[in-house]
Subunit: 133 residues, 2 copies
DNA sequence: AATCATATGTTGTATATGCAACATTTATTT
DNA sequence: AAATAAATGTTGCATATACAACATATGATT
């Protein structure tokens, strides 16, 4: 056999994502949002006001997934969307405040990740990102 | 700011997993199973007859997730589970046959991953696995 | 301008996933 | 042995995710 079955790359990435998610979830509990919602809020924090489609493009998420996630964030009044057919999305003041409040906690989780990764740092992650697109 | 928001490690791993999954899904379509079902079938192929709990342990999956995934595989008669309260799970002949039939296709996807990763190979992935537990 | 093609948003459906709550079984303590 | 604790399986609930089908809007062709 060419490869060991448990060396399956997509399974392994999925597993790593589950592990990392578990860590981050603990941090997010008190803020009432999920890991993915955080990701979208962070993306909006960087992108400003953008077409909804751009979010999926940046995060490699299916249109429908973005649509639903944005709806959840809208329900929490963390983002605002225009009423156009191709709406533009942006953080509300509440969303901005949440991001700012969250950042120090998120940084602590990041610190612990960096600590775990030790001398490797995020280099292995970056290498994967460079190649796996 | 200590880190860039888009450098969030858990988000990035999640994104990488989505990308890798997308590739594998194409391969699995014709076999009528999903990426996660494949992962469990592969694990059983290696582990033989095991307690259901061992699957979650090996794959870092919550008990309930394993319970449901196994149920789906059972419905397809790809795995068999004993009726005990803590059931033992194993591949059926149909499951074994599917795994064997799938392997060459899976290997092609793995080849393409290895090709993508180029000179890095799976080293970055292994480094992450060593540290992120 | 009207038509056709393309792009994008939404909804239905199915699986993936985790957590909490509950059920049951096994292990431990007294 | 009885009672308590710990482990494990299942179910309800919520979100995450993708795909297909549909709706609508935008762009390109004629």
């Amino acid at each position: 056999m060419k490869y060991e079955l448990h060396h399956c790359i997509s399974s392994r990435l999925r597993k790593l994502a589950r592990i990392a998610d578990g860590h981050m979830r603990n941090c997010l509990k008190e803020f009432g949002i999920t890991e993915n919602q955080m990701t979208i809020l962070f993306a909006l924090s960087k992108l400003g006001k953008v077409e909804q489609g751009k979010i999926g493009e940046a995060l490699v998420l299916e249109r429908s997934t973005v649509s639903r996630n944005v709806k959840l964030l809208e329900k929490q009044k963390l983002v605002r969307k225009t009423t156009a057919y191709r709406p533009e999305i942006e953080l509300t003041n509440k969303g901005i405040a949440l991001v700012n409040e969250l950042i120090p906690h998120w940084e602590k989780v990041m610190d612990s990740y960096i600590d775990l990764l030790g001398d490797y740092g995020t280099a292995p992650l970056e290498k994967l990102e460079q190649r796996l697109k």
